[in-house]
Symmetry: C2
């Protein structure tokens, strides 16, 4: 019998509780063992909970209980989640988590401790919510060299952009809708400025390269500057705008960026609507594969946490698959290592645009006096320099290749 604990009884924590209770037989079958919940840690009181005897406010109850072998950390935030996780791993317990902030910030150190102690630190739920992505990506990795990852990793921004695309709402209205529907926080900065997506692509890039990618090294641009006109231009170009977490593996280096991009409608990422997430992984043998599903929500996220619990119960000895290492040299590729085609809007003439950018694909104009077009693939420095040569470049947005 495996005894487990849940730390944090919020949305995800209560989902984990629910699944452990309702799908007990299934978990037992898959874990080759019964999974019994022994503690729920939360600073709040739950006097009406049917199993109120499980609750504790004292972390040491879990830490010092030798029977507890697997702990689900679903409290979120960096502190005390970091201290708790570190103590548990040092004590020889496996920890599974949905906490992408923690994994992206302290994952390298925590994975090192897990390796030393030969226990698991698993985080399937930290990227893409309930979508199985970390294990399938690893499965692709078995026979492939992963060359690229492009993901719609944040449900809030995808909802906002979808409202703009499908219902012609402007950014502010779409954001307000998202807030009214509970898809966006009152302070939506972490989502709309791209920081949440940045942490997730850092985790995926680390896993694929097995090298610690620091999310602070990933240039991150949100969707706050995307207007309804941009969305309409994209449509004229048979594309949609999505916030993409992108990583490409170029030689020994990792190129990574978070930015809104034009996605051609023939790309399966273009059809990922509403709050859904999807991660497209490109392997040298398999080509493009994509994993799609609910990127957040109580039961979807909890279902990924429980899958990690089951895996940890089953494999008492550490799985070597899901890890990465700290590298002392700089592993990040230069910002010019990757060329994108760019969608450009300018108040300059088409003639000048062609003079500066050479061969371009012109879009039907939506705004009087504007010229809009897609360039050939350019480095970041090239597009920056060229756009300064035009009289008035309003903006440029990458096109996903």
């Amino acid at each position: 019998m495996a005894k487990v604990a849940i730390m944090g009884f919020g949305t995800v924590g209560s989902g984990v509780y629910e699944i452990i209770k309702t799908n007990a037989a299934k978990l037992q079958q898959n874990a080759d063992d019964t999974v019994e919940l022994k503690y729920i840690l939360d600073i709040r009181d739950f006097p009406d909970h049917p199993q109120k005897e499980l609750f504790t406010k004292d972390f040491n109850d879990i830490l010092n209980d030798e029977e507890v072998t697997v702990v689900a950390e679903v409290m979120g935030g960096l502190h005390p989640a970091y201290e708790f996780t570190k103590s548990l791993l040092l004590q020889g317990k496996s920890v599974v988590t949905s906490n992408k902030e923690l994994v992206a910030t302290y994952g390298t150190e925590l994975l090192e401790i897990a390796r030393e102690k030969n226990v698991n630190y698993m985080f399937e739920a930290s990227v893409g919510g309930g979508i199985p992505v970390i294990r399938p990506m690893h499965q692709c990795l078995t026979a492939n060299n992963i060359t690229k990852i492009a993901g719609i990793l944040n449900g809030t921004t995808n909802y906002i952009l979808y409202q703009m695309i499908a219902n012609g709402k402007d950014f502010e209205t779409a954001l307000k809708n998202a807030q009214d529907n509970g898809y966006a926080e009152r302070n939506p900065a972490a989502d709309i400025e791209g920081h949440d997506a940045c942490r997730k692509i850092a985790i995926l890039a680390s896993l694929a390269s097995r090298k610690a990618v620091d999310y602070n090294d990933i240039p991150t641009e949100g969707i706050v500057n995307i207007t309804l006109d941009d969305v309409k231009y994209a449509d004229k170009l048979n594309s949609v705008i999505k916030l993409i977490g992108y990583a490409e593996f170029i030689g020994d280096k990792v190129y990574s960026i978070v930015a809104p991009m034009l996605i051609k409608k023939s790309d399966p990422l273009s059809g990922v609507n509403d709050v859904f997430n999807a991660i497209k992984v490109t392997g040298d043998c398999v080509g493009d594969v994509m994993f799609y599903g609910a990127g957040a929500g109580k039961l979807p996220t909890a279902s990924a946490v429980v899958a990690d619990i089951v895996d940890s119960v089953k494999h008492k000895v550490r799985s070597k698959k899901f890890t990465w290492y700290k590298i002392d040299t700089d592993i990040m590729a230069d910002k010019d290592a990757k060329k994108f085609a760019y969608f450009v809007r300018t108040n300059d003439t088409l003639e000048n645009a062609k003079k500066v950018f050479g061969e371009i694909c012109v879009a039907d104009s939506i705004v009087d006096g504007e010229t809009a077009f897609v360039t050939q693939p350019l480095t970041a420095s090239e597009v920056e320099a060229k756009s300064k040569e035009l009289k008035n470049t309003l903006k440029y947005i990458r096109v996903l290749d």
Copy 2:
């Protein structure tokens, strides 16, 4: 050092060879062992192959070599693939395969032998080519009850339908294009009549239910009766037509069917174009997840075969995950156990259509004298009976819910 053999040096077999050669370091890392190819079985001669010493025409070389622990059966067809696989499993060797016909026909027996001998019989490549679907579906299964599976499982038919949808080609022209591009066989019956998709959904339904689903028990309709007008009507209804392998788990029973269906454009399956495949799995906790990628082709399929080889090398003792059991009672649900909405075309009047079908959603007419509409959800018997009440029902096609 693990010694492996390849049986069949056709498209997939040569892909497996290529990946084992080029990604040897990666395989070693993931298998915790070196993977060395010892034999390639083929009845043909390959005198110019750089490793011609590996080739044999005698199956007994592989069967009787105790060093060989994992064999990739990528020869296709039922015989002698069945006899070879059975002998190898009985000899205590693991077998991995891309042969969906064999898995769908003899899988139940072969899995039983694998269980008895405590070796692996793995078939990730048999469904969805290179797409990781069997392992991720199992991962979903860990914490979820799978309620439904809907898949675009055949690249040939998807290519044909996509040509009709995107380029307005009629069925015959689209089929000819598919043949000219090597996407369809000269005798395309197995694809366009739905038999290939049927075998694949039988495998997925068996895995999800852990009960042997006989593909002969799955009503199977191909796309040969789908016309360009049907496709145009679907577009008017904001939908596309796709060939769907469908399974739903209702109580103890399995409801399964292969048929062309209208897919709403908001459904992620609708954006699966060209020869690509995708499988949408619905779990009671996770909701809808979808796995997308190349459903066929040399390296994609080989990449899934190699992933199974690595898994079998790593887990010398049988994995219990991917199996099902023969059930002596009838496990198939009645054809009326599941209701679909139907798209109906008739030469009768709108008035009569409403009289017979009640509340309907009418489509703009494309053909003079026709009434076209979508019904409320009906059983197969209901739609059959009601359509006979109309003066002249041309056809009805299910709508995926």
